[in-house]
Symmetry: C2
């Protein structure tokens, strides 16, 4: 018989309660008791303590289910998290409530190659504007994503390609100090995977992959509901897996990396070549119109029926599908979500990815395997950042300064 | 303050205590208290209960560390597990003690294509001989491995290629009924990975891969110390990942699967061709001597300086290394263990695997990544089977019939 909770058991119980409220709240005391498999008395006591320290609140009577009427419980409605998604050429800062609904965001064009002082300065300014506008004195935590490998325990990028000046820079501690709250740093793809898990198509998936197709290509790996980072924090680096090719050299120095063919940069280069040598009239027209071509222009030209653009898009999808097939064989996930800017090329691209992946994988592994586009085109990184730091903050509930 | 353990908390404590004794025993009460982070009084009470139900025993005073002398605790010395490793052409049955030391084994040549009645009958007869010889009335559990995909929750093979008659056969329940004890079924590679984790080179690894090179090629995936099976139980099916090739068709129907070049069967076919057309004098001599060639003969001929055999072995290693490189990029493991019959080709093969894997992977992921040969050439599957069922049995301690 459990007479009283030890300190550690109580912390664990409170953490689970807060996570339930974040992901499924508001909930009645009765529902909380059912979800945590403890008595309503215990729930009442814990909710009382969490209310005292400013993390939870009671919001009135629950709808009757017969019997004694229960009370609704929610996270304190003044809890705020900050998510910061730093990309290669732009960054997004957002403020969320305790349940990670995005209340306000700001996107800023900002080249990561300007280095951490400029980029983080820009992000901090945006965060302060948003917090001031929302009258938030003190966010409960900030989660930051950067487009490169991260030493999660140190909170710093590690040898990130294409990010001069960022190697070893204490991003986590800098941002935490600036905003005066707990901070975490991870790579952008992991944040997007968490965002998808919290608010997107992966909401009920325990073992899934999130493949980000952007300037580069990366993969977030979720095992048993939690991010799997690998022993050095660089799991999911699928952009440099080898695909069939003609010996094209990648920026990493190796030959025939996926990214060298299917990354956004590679697509843009291929598109420019096709525009320049007259093979693609539509891409040439777009180039003349805009001065430069992006991966998205390949989709535009393909939609206008351009043969070369269509071929580029199909080959991109086939190569991604080839790698996805290998991941399916190795990892046997329950869901694969395709996201990122280049995934905006849409369902024709998705069809190629699926075709290649299903063809090469075991029927047992693909029988019930959905391969779908992200339905969180916006704010995925912001929600993921908020989610990541909320996991830390809610796992060790402490009284809030207020 | 923790006054008393609830039933569930007590079960959990006992399970952790038993697992510590299995993996690190015998241990003094003091050491157990430190490992489990509880008081010596609590340990004393739990050891008393486990002794009563026949799972643990006290074995005398521990060596003095100063202060009050502690008592040594061990698993009951009459605990026995059975491990059964069924391969394509032979099977091994072994009996272990509670700490999974192999006490006796029997290997039997037995073709899996004879179907479950014959093969399981052979295995059961061997198990009974071993148990009778050792005077074991009642093993505590039996773990079985088969060379094909398994539905772990149903305890049956699922559409296993090259195993006619086994699809859906209730192997777990049949074996458990025959031996009168709890049983589990998994694929052979997962068992070998567990064996390596318990008694081999992966003993302290939390996130590692075990690549089995046998007739086929498969991979055991361990995440956070536990087997990762994927959502359909077919994670680690790396034999059908695509490699660079000349369009060779695999038994699975796809082109250029790893196994179609580097599996033991493929090597044997390549060796026979080189012997037949006169390219390889050493392989021809071995063929004349033995009547047929195996993958191991490639190693023998290579050791004698045969150029074609050496090339076959190197190409095998390069292709395995190519796939391993992809797994490193995706999974960022802390250790890769290469095992199975074909890995007996030895260090020259390993050098090729390493060369290809290190060349293609991120420095961050390979900086501290050992790629090593299994040091458990024998009994790995038996130990793994015993380990797998011991996890179940020790997790829910119940009084033993005796």
């Amino acid at each position: 018989m459990l007479h009283s909770l030890s300190g550690r058991a109580e912390t664990l119980m409170q953490a689970r309660l807060l996570a339930e409220l974040r992901d499924h709240g508001p909930l009645s005391r009765t529902e909380l008791g059912e979800r945590l498999d403890v008595s309503r008395t215990t729930i009442g006591a814990e909710v009382g303590r969490l209310t005292e320290i400013g993390l939870a609140q009671e919001t009135g009577p629950a709808a009757s289910r017969g019997g004694r009427r229960s009370t609704m419980v929610d996270l304190a409605d003044d809890i705020r998290f900050v998510g910061i998604a730093i990309g290669a050429s732009r960054l997004e800062v957002g403020v969320t409530d305790g349940r990670l609904a995005v209340l306000a965001t700001e996107q800023v064009v900002c080249d990561i190659r300007q280095g951490p002082d400029v980029v983080l300065g820009t992000a901090m300014a945006a965060a302060r504007r948003l917090l001031d506008d929302a009258d938030v004195a003190q966010p409960m935590g900030v989660g930051v994503g950067v487009p490169g490998p991260v030493d999660f325990s140190r909170g710093a990028p590690v040898a990130p390609p294409l990010m001069p000046g960022w190697d070893g820079y204490p991003v986590r501690d800098t941002v935490g100090r600036e905003l005066g709250c707990p901070a975490v740093l991870d790579n952008d793809v992991n944040l997007m995977a968490l965002g998808e898990q919290h608010a997107g198509v992966a909401r009920h998936a325990r073992d899934f992959l999130f493949v980000k197709m952007g300037t580069g290509i990366g993969c977030g790996v979720v095992v048993g509901g939690a991010l799997y980072r690998g022993v050095n924090g660089c799991a999911g680096d699928v952009g440099h897996m080898q695909v069939r090719g003609d010996g094209r050299r990648c920026v990493c120095g190796n030959l025939d990396c996926l990214e060298a063919y299917a990354g956004g940069s590679a697509l843009a280069v291929d598109a420019a070549a096709a525009a320049a040598d007259g093979r693609s009239p539509e891409l040439a027209a777009l180039l003349a119109e805009r001065g430069r071509l992006t991966a998205e222009d390949v989709g535009v030209a393909a939609a206008r029926g351009d043969l070369v653009a269509t071929t580029l898009m199909r080959e991109c999808g086939q190569r991604v599908g080839e790698v996805v097939a290998g991941l399916v064989s190795f990892f046997n996930p329950g869901l694969i979500v395709i996201g990122g800017r280049v995934s905006g090329l849409g369902h024709a691209l998705l069809a190629e990815i699926r075709g290649a992946a299903y063809q090469r994988s075991l029927p047992l592994a693909t029988g019930n395997l959905p391969i779908v586009l992200s339905d969180l085109p916006d704010h995925g990184g912001v929600v993921g950042g908020a989610r990541l730091v909320s996991q830390d903050v809610l796992a060790s509930p402490v009284p809030r300064r207020s």
